[in-house]
């Protein structure tokens, strides 16, 4: 049985082929006053095109745009919301990457599309429907400094409502799948369940598009009971960084999809397709009634571009082997 392959966030921006547009170089030239903002924008478009073409060529079933123009997974969206001020750099969990911390200084409000235009442009470059990306509302709250609400449930719900409006704008732009990155759900304790639920309940209300709640780096077990009945389509698990995620499978409601994060996005060691296909078979053995996606554990931007490409090839090879029932 075929298993859908997909990404789990952004993709490395650097080219692997000499002579291809190098966004890093163009941005450096802009910073030195030798290139214009228009030239940077053109380099972002060229990089997006390359990312999408690569995924199409390798055979990823549900490609993503790759977020070529984003500095991190939060700021691009957060700075588009009313009530948010962008502050200093913080380390992004334990990844040795950084983000600029949003500060909640007023009521959080969505005032217009932030990512939808970019998504529409990217979709026009792809032969296959793209999965859109948004930072998750609970994690965006946890990544932020709350100087307004003082109550995690209220703050997280406000982000959920605002990002839900953005998800609707993505639907208007043609998105049929929306990937929601929620690393903090993997770090949540049972006591956080109320805030997690408030964020996702507000976010998920009334959407046509399918939604993937993706939890990299940790297992959502501690709060899964709080979100089990919400109308998400898929829960994405990092089964390398958090093997405890396997314990979620028996609890997933019928009719849902599980994203099996089995390609390690945080280590250069390449997976054997036989081992990955074996893990897929294990999941199917545990819950034959569910649908599955196969993906990296997280954004592939934690890897060098050359390794990321090899990981994608392993991903597709693993899915092919899994489809044959091989392990």
């Amino acid at each position: 049985m075929k298993i859908q392959t997909t990404l789990a966030g952004s993709y490395p921006k650097l080219p692997t082929v000499a002579g291809d547009v190098n966004l890093r170089v163009v941005r450096n030239r802009r910073d030195a006053g030798k290139a214009t903002d228009d030239e940077v924008a053109a380099a972002v478009r060229a990089t997006t095109r390359r990312m999408i073409e690569l995924q199409n060529r390798i055979g990823i079933d549900l490609p993503m745009e790759g977020q070529a123009g984003w500095d991190d997974a939060q700021t691009f969206v957060a700075r588009g919301l009313e009530g948010i001020r962008i502050a200093g750099l913080l380390r992004y969990l334990d990844t040795n990457t950084y983000y600029r911390q949003p500060e909640i200084v007023g009521p959080i409000r969505w005032t217009g599309p932030i990512t939808a235009g970019e998504f529409r442009e990217a979709q026009a470059l792809s032969a296959r429907p793209l999965k859109a990306f948004l930072p998750g509302p609970y994690s965006l709250y946890r990544f932020s400094k709350d100087m307004r609400y003082g109550d995690p449930t209220e703050g997280a719900r406000s982000f959920g409502e605002a990002l839900g409006r953005e998800a609707a704008a993505l639907e208007e732009a043609g998105a049929t799948w929306i990937h929601v990155e929620e690393p903090w759900i993997g770090h949540a304790r049972a006591a956080d369940g109320r805030a997690v639920r408030a964020a996702l309940e507000a976010f998920l209300a009334g959407h046509r598009a399918k939604t993937m709640i993706h939890v990299p780096f940790g297992s959502p077990m501690a709060v899964f009971d709080s979100i089990r009945d919400l109308p998400w389509t898929a829960i994405g698990l990092d089964l390398v960084g958090a093997p405890a995620g396997w314990e979620i499978l028996p609890l997933v409601p019928k009719g849902r999809t599980v994203g099996l994060g089995l390609i390690d996005a945080r280590n250069t060691r390449l997976e054997a397709p036989e081992a990955v296909a074996g893990a897929v078979a294990r999941a199917r053995g545990l819950r034959p009634d569910l649908d599955y996606h196969l993906s990296p554990t997280a954004s592939l931007e934690y890897l060098p571009a050359d390794t990321a490409e090899k990981k994608l090839e392993r991903l597709v090879a693993s899915a092919a082997l899994a489809a044959k029932g091989g392990a």
Partner: protein, 325 residues
Amino acid sequence: MPRGLWTTTVGSFPKPPHLEKARQQFARGEITADRLGEMEREETVAVIRRQEAIGLDLLVDGELYRGDMTTYFAELTPGYAVSNPVRSYGNRYYRKPVAVGPIRRTKEWTVEWWKFAQAQTKLPIKGMLTGPYTMMDWSFNEHYPSREAMTMDLAAAINDEALALQEAGAKYIQIDEPAISVRPEELPLAVKAFARATQGIKAKTITHICYGDFDVIYPALLDLPVDQIDLEMANSRYDLLDRFRVNAFTKEIGYGVLDVHSHRIETKDEIKEGILRGLEVLKPEQMYVDPDCGLKTRTVEEAFAKLEAMVAAVREVRAEKGITA
């Protein structure tokens, strides 16, 4: 009269454009290692002279001969390979170490540079290393069966280098552990590894930690067997001071007052205000005033303008509070 509020920096200084160009030329095989080394030594002397001129108390060699704080060591160490560039934030990239075999220190990493730098000045120069936990956490691992096994091999290697720096005469040895604040469950491993890395060290030990979640590791962080912990204070608008009011900071502190990720030059008055806020909960003899992190991401002009403002602010506070260096 109390002593304190000594001034220093965290480690790295920006490379001047002609040195950046020379490093690129060397990478392309257009100049020799000898020529690059000659330029690096010239610029190291220049950085030391400027630190002296500004009036800093505790100097560094500026790390102009290093690329990234982990990659530099990996390139000199059997058991390590180095990846193609990986992004850290925005448009900043580094080549990440990859553990491909047992990690062993088979030659000195920094001692010759430290000796060269110290020979240029009567002021003390810090020996500068990256800590075992951070080296492990910021590497890919294709060899070790566990994070602990890799960390402890690194700790042994770093201890060899720290002992060699001490033998060469270093009175201050800084072993940076910026990764320590991200996995609280591994703090005991980081503490154990740091103890191994500093085994037999009588010099003053310092560690730099930044951009993490201090709520989850403080005050347990004080278990680290080190004399001074260097923290970014300005980036978090001195919020850490509230934690110190609840749980006293019991070690010396490197007290960061300059945002190293901003082009803006802080005013003397705002730096002074930050120092005065610190003195509400810390003793002057605990405090070494410095930037939040290494200055290598700034331009040369920005870096020294920021430091000039910092030293001017410290001098005013010292004068007003009757504190001597």
